[in-house]
């Protein structure tokens, strides 16, 4: 029997090929995880809100109920424009000046590494990069509005969330007051979603005949909305805090709880951007440092596997979960097989007291409720911090608790092999125990051992998933068990019970079990045919 022809005969079987293909598919995902998962830990708050929470996968658009859900829309589309780092950034903006033509100059003179540290769930900016300078000069006594905006077509259902941010630093403001708006414009009108103004501009806005009282209210409530000269102003608007948006104070027809639904209720052309409102008293000269404008509509469909209740990427969770599942499955089965085969050989080969003692140990581990023992050990080693890494702890526990079954099977094989004539002949001829074990016993149990591995790995994968599911395994990390456990709290009728999570994880567990089963059965059958 040559091992090459054995491998060939196994690979000639269709079930073995299918099983192996499934195993390799998941192994590939596990191996490539760092490359194909955008987030190494999607349960970390930093990975939240890549799109709206509970978004189905992008390919779900083929189903009618999901066909008109919006994808992620980010403006400007490229980071270099977002960061205002290139001269073309100002050209990318569409500039509209209905009153008179101020001179706008773009100069790459901003300092580097001066941005203030800002934290927030949706903020996306680069504090290490510098800013660019926009100069406005002119001569007027009527207010000069300057619109910088992006245009885009929106042909989807209304989104749940959008977010806009801008960082500005007024360097020189001479002969004028300054107010900066972020706005969304649709066919019905212009909706200001954020507003910062210096004291002169505040006075001006509050004295407007129609909207003055609204502005008065806005500035009285949002005292932080004062534009500071010579300092960075972080202007942002997010629909989760829509009560702070100026449009709520100015336009009574907008329900503060449904801002994004109201603003994007119509399909059509939209403009989003920045309005620089200059209120001059004659000759004026303004220099603005400006960087990191971003406008995002959080899509309601996302990526390969959608998002979870935190808006985190489920594909990342799935991939890192696969990596952990297979890592623990193979790691623990390596321990199980090493100990199990060794003790099985020892028990079967030496017999006597060693055998009896080991049999007691095997029976102890087999007969007692392994799950509760596992829970006990897990709890104790977790509270004492004996093992630094929870995944490692689970691997060790599963490995050390699971070997008894292997030992029993190997032992019974050894017992039957020991009575074979060729083993007895070798003994009579004075062969050493080691020689007999290596060249007779191991050789003939190899098929069983390989087949056992294929049965044990999926069992351990499911055991690990079960522990995580019960909340006593790996925590704060995406694993298959945790993903299924989160469903219990997060799945509701309104998010379709998060079918993209439960199906991907559930079918993967089933596919992996079936794959290993097919492959293992094929090996065992071919091996018994061989020997």
């Amino acid at each position: 029997m040559s091992s090459l022809s054995f491998v060939k005969s196994v690979l000639r079987r269709r079930d073995a090929i299918v099983g192996l293909a499934i195993i390799l598919f998941f192994a590939l995902i596990a191996l490539l995880a760092p490359l194909i998962a955008p987030f190494s830990n999607a349960y970390n708050p930093k990975a939240y809100f890549v799109a709206s929470p509970d978004s189905p996968p992008a390919w779900a658009r083929i189903f009618p109920p999901y066909s008109s859900l919006p994808p992620n829309i980010v403006l400007p589309p490229t980071p270099s424009y977002q960061l205002f780092k290139v001269p073309s950034a100002i050209q990318y903006w569409q500039v509209l000046d209905p009153v008179n033509s101020p001179v706008i100059k773009y100069s790459q003179s901003g300092p580097v590494g001066v941005l203030p540290p800002i934290s927030g769930a949706f903020v996306s900016y680069d504090p290490t990069s510098g800013s660019e300078l926009v100069n406005l000069t002119g001569d007027s006594t009527t207010p000069v509005p300057l619109y910088l905006y992006h245009e885009f077509g929106y042909n989807y259902q209304p989104p749940d969330y959008f977010y806009a941010q801008l960082l500005v630093k007024p360097i020189t403001v001479q002969g004028a007051s300054l107010a900066i708006f972020l706005f969304v414009q649709n066919e019905k009108g212009v909706y200001p979603v954020a507003l910062f103004a210096d004291s002169g501009a505040q006075t001006y806005l509050e004295s407007l005949p129609n909207l003055g009282s609204g502005y008065l209210n806005y500035f009285a409530t949002n005292t932080q909305s004062t534009l500071n000269k010579g300092a960075w102003n972080f202007i942002s608007a997010i629909t989760t805090a829509s009560a702070y948006m100026p449009l709520v104070y100015l336009n009574k027809s907008v329900n503060p709880l449904l801002v994004s639904q109201t603003l994007f209720s119509e399909k059509g052309e939209y403009k989003v951007g920045e309005l620089i409102l200059v209120i001059p008293h004659g000759k004026y000269s303004i220099a603005l440092q400006q960087t990191d404008f971003k406008f995002q509509i959080f899509g309601k469909i996302y990526g390969l596997l959608g998002t979870d209740a935190n808006g985190a990427d489920v594909w990342s969770e799935f991939v890192t979960g696969t990596r952990l599942a297979l890592g623990i499955g193979f790691g623990a089965s390596a321990i199980t097989m090493a100990i199990g085969v060794l003790l099985g050989l020892v028990a079967g080969f030496f017999g006597g007291f060693v055998d009896s003692a080991l049999i007691f140990l095997f029976d102890f581990l087999l007969l007692l409720p392994g799950l509760i023992l596992l829970i006990d050990l897990d709890t104790i080693f977790t509270i004492t911090h004996a093992v630094p890494n929870k995944a490692l702890l689970i691997t060790l526990l599963l490995g050390f608790l699971g070997f008894a079954g292997v030992s029993r099977i190997v032992r019974s094989q050894v017992l039957s092999l020991k009575t074979r004539t060729y083993v007895q002949a070798a003994q009579v001829m004075g062969a050493s125990n080691f020689y007999i074990v290596r060249s007779h016993i191991l050789k003939h149990t190899a098929g069983t051992i390989i087949a056992l591995v294929t049965y044990i790995v999926p069992g351990l994968v499911i055991a690990d998933a079960g522990l995580d599911f019960l909340g006593i395994g790996i925590i704060n990390t995406p694993t298959w068990g945790n993903m299924l456990n989160n469903l219990l709290n997060q799945a509701t009728a309104s998010n379709g019970y998060l079918w993209w999570i439960s199906l991907s994880v559930g079918l993967s567990i089933i596919a992996l079990s079936v794959g290993f089963y097919l492959f293992g059965t094929a090996i065992q059958e071919e091996f018994s045919r061989f020997s």
Binding site: P369, I380, I383, L470, L484, I509
Partner: protein, 344 residues
């Protein structure tokens, strides 16, 4: 005489195993943490971290608890006390449930027993019905469609993870279709508006227990069904007495039931016994998924809140239960099969 010897030998064997389990859990819960520099008295007291305001009072409590549990005693005395407490069911006080452990167990255990008892009956009935049906279809039918359908379904259930199919059935049947209540508590008080008594109480209880039992049944019957089917077919086709009976001209229906089925039932009984002994595994997940307050649910709660007295006692009780079932099984075997009794 031989039976008596066999039973006594097995009894001693099981008792030693139980004693060994108790000693292992003593070292696991009380000695290993101390060796790792962790004061287990904190866990017995239910204190996971000291709060700065009450540190004095907490330390005093820990000291009292340590004395009450005899944690300062020399090791042999502690082992003795621990074993004595285990075997007299003196399990101490659970910090999570704020009640004596034994009382908590007696509150939660009936729910588990109902789930496991009913599902044991349903799986057994289903496995016999479908086992016989599949075997008959295999033997009598040419295209064996009935056998193939049943077998594919049964073998398919091996690969269904309970942590997946459980939540899905819960979402579809309880949450969406509202055929079943969302959990036991809701079924028994209708969300606080009703207080059923008498027959209605039990009916509502059963209503809430149905879905967990369905899941346990679906996942539990396949293995035994296949076992029975394979054994019947093997006995019917190749056992010597079936061949002899056929040669005598006994109708095949009689051979099927009197010879093949009866003999195939013996390994099936073994499997039922083993399933009873290890029933706990499925219960843990089903109780958590359906929020059914049984012993598995309580154990998971205890594990997540680091309730050591509760874990110690459930470890011992689960061990006791399993070994008891296995012992009864030995006894049943010895009654059923003279070969075992005679030690052959």
């Amino acid at each position: 005489m031989a039976t008596y010897k066999f039973v006594v030998f097995r009894l001693i064997n099981r008792l030693v195993t139980l004693l060994f389990l108790a000693i292992v859990s003593f070292f696991l819960f009380e000695v290993i943490p101390q060796l790792l520099g962790f004061n287990v008295a904190f866990l017995f007291a239910g204190i996971t971290q000291l709060s700065p305001k009450q540190a004095q009072a907490q330390l005093l409590l820990v000291d009292t608890i340590a004395k009450a549990y005899g944690l300062y005693d020399p090791l042999p005395l502690r082992i003795y006390h621990f074993l004595f407490n285990m075997f007299t069911f003196n399990f101490g006080y659970s910090p999570t449930f704020k009640e004596p452990v034994l009382k908590v167990v007696s509150q939660y255990l009936p729910n588990s027993l109902i789930l496991s008892g009913v599902s044991l009956i349903t799986t057994s009935v289903l496995s016999i019905v479908f086992g016989v049906y599949a075997a008959k279809s295999f033997i009598n039918s040419k295209r064996k469609i009935g056998d193939k359908t049943v077998s594919i379904f049964s073998i398919g259930t091996y690969f269904l993870p309970v942590i997946w199919i459980g939540p899905i059935l819960y979402f579809v049947l309880a949450d969406q279709a509202r055929i079943f209540p969302i959990n036991l508590a809701f079924a028994l008080n209708c969300g606080g508006v009703c207080h059923p008594t008498g027959l209605e109480y039990y009916l509502r209880y059963l209503w809430a227990a149905t879905l967990p039992i369905i899941v346990l049944t679906i996942l539990g019957f396949g293995h035994r069904q296949q076992l029975l089917r394979n054994n019947i077919i093997e006995e019917y086709n190749s056992s010597s007495y079936a061949i002899y009976a056929r040669a005598r001209g006994i109708p095949s229906r009689q051979i099927f039931y009197k010879h093949a089925f009866r003999n195939a039932l013996l390994p099936w009984v073994t499997q039922v016994g083993l399933d009873v002994a290890f029933l706990i595994y499925g219960l843990f997940f089903v109780e958590v998924i359906f929020q059914f307050p049984g012993i598995g649910y309580a154990s998971v709660l205890a594990a997540t809140t680091l309730d050591i007295p509760f874990l110690i006692s459930t470890t011992f009780l689960f061990g006791l239960y399993t070994l008891l079932v296995l012992f009864v099984l030995d006894f049943v075997y010895a009654m059923l099969d003279p070969r075992i009794r005679l030690g052959e």
